[in-house]
């Protein structure tokens, strides 16, 4: 036997033990194991979070992150436990709006713990990983998607009533990855502004939702109208030149107060889009310069003025969303 070119391993025999996996095989096994663990973690997270809401817009600059943070804060105001996942990898700005600028993520036992912003809202954002805010993230698709999966699977959210997921503008990889990774997403909120170009892109988002099989919870029209408040002698009729060559008039009340709402872009476009596609219109949010200041200062308008007109407008949108959510959504409809 000693001269035989064939080596036979016998239990307890004197021959060499079987060769283990090669380093490459070992790496593949580890990756597969990590992937499986992450998938299980995602399912577990899906169970712990009651409602998952995606916030999208077809076009940039419509105030999507403002709406996401506003929805989260408005829900938190109602006493819900809320988290925001800022998936906008290339331009993450939720932390700044939530007063968490410059924070770093806390990692314990290989689990990422979210930072807590205003009203206890938990926040996860790529901004927490950036060395400085001027450094751009230049990642190709697969790395970006890996990061998103990690943000979903490796974050210790705990029990949440609502998770708001803020996306970059457009209908690209990110929502697709989230929709495929996170189970039981309740639906998406489409943010738009009244002008035509934003509406066209919103229509794309609505048809995009159909391809993802994620229901549209509704359309929110942001920057809808700017209200000018003023004072004049009681009973005075005030004329104001409005966009589009219109003249708006208002009469000062007995205390001398008047207010006029200017439709800076247009009016009713978000509702028209919602009607056109047969999806709910969730409401219009006013054009409020306070959002810009609040965003820059890290104090959201809802926090600085919880009873103000913007907070009230958000509360209405939240109520409309809650009306669409799936708790008993079918109203006991029997389908046979």
């Amino acid at each position: 036997m000693a001269d035989s070119p064939v080596s036979i391993n016998t239990p307890g025999g004197a021959n060499e033990p079987p060769a283990g996996p090669s380093p490459q095989e070992q790496k593949q096994m580890e990756q597969a194991y990590a992937q499986m663990k992450r998938k299980m973690a995602m399912e577990e997270i899906g169970r712990k979070i009651k409602h998952k809401i995606m916030v999208l817009s077809g076009k940039g600059g419509v105030g999507k992150s403002t709406v996401s943070t506003g929805l989260a804060l408005s829900l938190a105001q109602q006493g819900h436990t809320v988290g925001i996942l800022d998936i906008d990898i290339t331009g993450p700005n939720v932390p700044k709006m939530m007063g968490l600028d410059g924070r770093r993520l806390h990692v314990e036992n290989k689990r990422i713990h979210p930072a807590q912003g205003h009203l206890g809202v938990k926040v996860i954002s790529m901004a927490f990983l950036l060395e400085d805010e001027d450094t751009p993230v230049v990642w190709r698709g697969p790395i970006k998607l890996g990061a998103i999966q990690q943000f979903i699977g490796d974050v210790e959210w705990g029990e949440l009533d609502y998770l708001i997921i803020d996306f970059p503008p457009g209908t690209s990889d990110e929502p697709l990855t989230v929709a495929q990774s996170l189970p039981d997403i309740d639906g998406m909120v489409i943010v738009t502004t009244p002008q035509q170009v934003a509406l066209l892109d919103s229509r794309k988002s609505i048809t995009f939702s159909e391809s993802l099989k994620v229901p549209v919870l509704g359309v929110v029209e942001n920057m809808s109208g700017f209200t000018v408040n003023g004072q004049a002698a009681p009973g005075t009729e005030v004329s104001i030149a409005a966009p589009g060559g219109k003249t708006l008039t208002a009469t000062a009340d007995n205390d001398g107060n008047f207010s006029v709402t200017l439709d800076i872009f247009k009016e009713g476009g978000g509702k028209d889009t919602a009607d056109e596609f047969g999806v709910p219109f969730l409401g219009a949010l006013p054009f409020d310069p306070g959002f810009v200041r609040g965003g820059d200062d890290g104090v959201h308008r809802i926090v600085s003025e919880p009873e103000g007109p913007s907070a009230k407008a958000f509360a209405k949108v939240v109520a409309a969303i809650q009306d669409q959510l799936s708790d008993g959504a079918d109203g006991g409809l029997e389908i046979i």
């Binding site: 309740d186 639906g187 229509r203 959510l325 799936s326 409809l333």
Partner: protein
């Protein structure tokens, strides 16, 4: 649109049509052909703008093999119908289904305006 929309309690799928029962005990039958012709998606809707194209859409639907759709609720506001063949994109608000049940034009005479595509 009805001022007060009754709640749909039961949807019974039959071979060629579905029977809808509402909480006010009213009952209606909607054929699958009518349902599919009223598809609110961005592809089917423009075809109903003109009589010619609307008839073409109708003929295309009638040429499809008869089948029972899979039905699911969408949020709290609508139904979606999944067909093995033909368009399954449309999300039908309950108001739309009720209009169809009552033989009313679910588009309310409003032509569809194209989006960006």
């Amino acid at each position: 649109m009805a001022d007060t929309l009754p709640t749909l309690k039961k949807l019974e799928r039959r071979a060629q049509d579905m029977v809808l029962t509402y909480d006010d005990d009213s009952q209606y039958t909607v054929t699958y052909d009518d349902l599919r012709h009223a598809c609110p998606c961005a592809k089917c809707s423009p075809m109903r703008n003109e009589d010619d194209t609307s008839r073409t859409l109708r003929r295309q639907i009638e040429a499809l093999p008869a089948e029972k759709p899979t039905v699911r609720t969408v949020g709290k506001y609508a139904l979606a119908f999944e067909w093995k063949q033909g368009c399954s994109s449309g999300i039908y608000r309950f108001e739309r289904v009720y209009d169809l049940a009552n033989r009313r034009d679910p588009d309310r005479g409003k032509p569809y305006v194209h989006g960006a595509w």
